[in-house]
């Protein structure tokens, strides 16, 4: 019971209605935001300063990168390559995540399956998956099929492991109570197991999406020579760094958006997993 009461207190503190406390917190937020903006502006200024002094074949100032960004965006070049990258990533991640979720649940449910497969899951999870990229290319040829397969390989294994761990760590006391109240197997999964495993599953999705983006770029660079990876390679070999930075920055923005989005979803869906971290 003690733990429960403490959790309630934490909740009260976070949601405190005390106006003085709220004001102080808002002031702190604004100050931090201000400092962050100053830092980012300063970094861009440093980039501009060194960029305009470096050899234009090797590096470019941010102002020229932004010009190239505008040009590639307006001419439709960026979108043309980006759309194929995003499509491969979306399809591959969707397959990898849903298959991983399913296998993770099955392995947690059936001990025989767990024992039969856990060796392979551990091996494939540890091995640098990128080493398989040349093989995949040889088997499937360059093209979207090879790219999607690589993304599936990168996203599937973390998802299996996270789902499995989430299900295995469901509070045994809850399971026992549900069983004593004669929950059916289906009710048990819907009301106890899946909500209990949710924090792990969502963390797995975040992890899988980050790896999925990496996998797409790997496929773009080394198997299919398409998508934004192709843009990066093309402009690198032409020694036009201002053009190389456009797809690189775009990928950075996509990566940050994905992480921020999945953290937001995490907060919305499993707020209890954050109760202690917010303090």
């Amino acid at each position: 019971m003690g733990r429960l009461r403490d959790a309630g207190k934490v909740h009260e503190l976070v949601k405190s209605k005390d106006p003085a406390l709220q004001r102080a917190r808002r002031r702190e937020h604004i100050r931090l935001l201000f400092v962050r903006v100053v830092v980012v502006v300063a970094l861009l200024a440093v980039w501009e300063y060194f960029g305009s002094r470096a050899s234009p074949l090797m590096f470019a100032p941010i102002s020229r990168v932004l010009q190239s960004f505008g040009r590639q965006a307006v001419s439709g070049e960026l979108w043309k390559y980006l759309s194929s990258t995003l499509q491969n990533m979306a399809v591959g991640s969707l397959i990898g995540i849903s298959a991983g979720l399913a296998l993770g649940v099955l392995m947690a449910r059936y001990r025989l399956l767990d024992l039969a497969l856990d060796t392979y899951i551990t091996v494939f999870f540890s091995l640098p998956m990128i080493a398989l990229a040349p093989l995949i290319q040889q088997w499937l040829g360059p093209g979207p099929l090879a790219s999607v397969t690589i993304v599936v390989l990168f996203t599937f294994f973390p998802m299996v492991i996270n789902t499995y761990q989430g299900v295995m760590r469901v509070d045994a006391g809850l399971l026992e109570v549900a069983r004593s109240f004669r929950s059916s197997e289906w009710q048990l999964w819907r009301d106890v197991v899946l909500p209990g495993a949710l924090p792990f599953i969502i963390a797995g999705v975040r992890f899988a999406l980050t790896r999925g983006l990496l996998a797409t770029v790997v496929a773009d660079l080394y198997t299919s020579i398409g998508g934004v990876g192709y843009l990066i390679m093309l402009y690198t070999t032409r020694f036009q760094p201002e053009n190389v930075f456009v797809p690189v920055l775009t990928l950075g923005i996509i990566g940050m958006t994905l992480v921020a989005l999945s953290q937001w979803i995490e907060r919305r869906m499993v707020p209890w997993a954050f109760a202690s971290k917010e303090q």
Binding site: M58, P128, I130, P134, L135, Q138, W139, F239
Partner: protein
């Protein structure tokens, strides 16, 4: 009554219970071994029927292992890659830990570096690889720079979190007993940050291996990554699997080994800390 079903074991294990437990452990080993054996046998059986330029089978890979170890080729390429990994990883580890400690300790450094760290940590760093090779060349420097970039961020982030996670009550007690800064670090901060740093190191190793192979693929001159591409392009599937399997073994030993270390120094660790 505080015990839950998870630890509801009989208070006095009887001889029969011990026998049952031993039997289930034995059964687990049997299932695992059986599963591996079954896959190998099926692979051998069906692999022989597939055209060898597309797929191969275990005994062919074994003899390819013999050839490539015998003529020293595997070791030649592997040692190149491992040297790159060692340079990049050691530099990334030292710089990462130092920066993480400084960030955890100084509010200013934290505020300045956090946005950068966040940005780099969520972008696919591999997109920078062509640029890195252009800047640092296709030799050891370019590859080591890649490994450095991949290993540096998990170490900074984890070390920083470790320092931030030190129990404030411990700090307060240490301060009330007039601990000086050096003792504070040696007795409180570093011991409680250590498990985080080891986790960071494990993440860094698995990312460093990815970076190592990626750099080989990018430069296509030396290293195990190049070996994979070359034999794949020559349609020698048996030879292609040799570096792939070697890499898997190295990764497995390093990553699982560090997991054991982690469990030793922090048995209460939360495996959800996966990234």
């Amino acid at each position: 009554m505080t015990f839950t079903a998870a630890n509801a074991r009989p208070a006095r294990p009887t001889a029969m219970a011990a026998r049952v437990r031993r039997r289930t452990a034995l059964g687990a080993v049997a299932v695992r071994a059986g599963s591996i054996l079954l896959v190998l046998v099926l692979w051998e059986f069906f692999g022989r029927d597939v055209n060898p330029i597309i797929f191969t089978y275990p005994t062919a890979i074994l003899s390819a292992f013999g050839v490539l170890i015998g003529n020293g080729e595997l070791w030649k390429y592997l040692s190149d890659s491992l040297a790159v990994l060692a340079y990049g990883l050691s530099l990334g580890t030292v710089v990462g830990i130092v920066l993480g400690l400084v960030m955890g300790r100084s509010r200013w450094v934290e505020v300045v570096l956090e946005p950068l760290l966040y940005a780099f940590n969520s972008m696919p760093l591999i997109a920078l690889l062509p640029l890195l090779v252009m800047w640092f060349g296709i030799g050891v420097a370019g590859k080591a720079a890649t490994v450095f970039l991949f290993t540096f961020f998990p170490l900074v982030v984890n070390t920083f979190q470790g320092v931030k996670n030190v129990d404030p009550r411990l700090l307060e007690v240490a301060r009330s007993f007039r601990t000086d800064e050096r003792e504070l670090w040696a007795d409180v901060i570093l011991p409680s940050a250590l498990p985080f740093i080891v986790t960071g190191f494990r993440l860094a190793i698995s990312r460093g291996l990815v970076a190592m192979v990626a750099a080989d693929l990018q430069t296509a001159l030396t290293g195990v990554g190049y070996m994979i591409v070359r034999y794949a392009n020559m349609y020698r599937m048996d030879m292609t699997f040799v570096p792939v399997i070697t890499l898997s073994i190295i990764a497995l030993v390093l990553v699982q080994g560090l997991r054991v270390v982690e469990r030793r120094i922090q048995p209460w660790a939360d495996p959800s800390n996966e990234r």
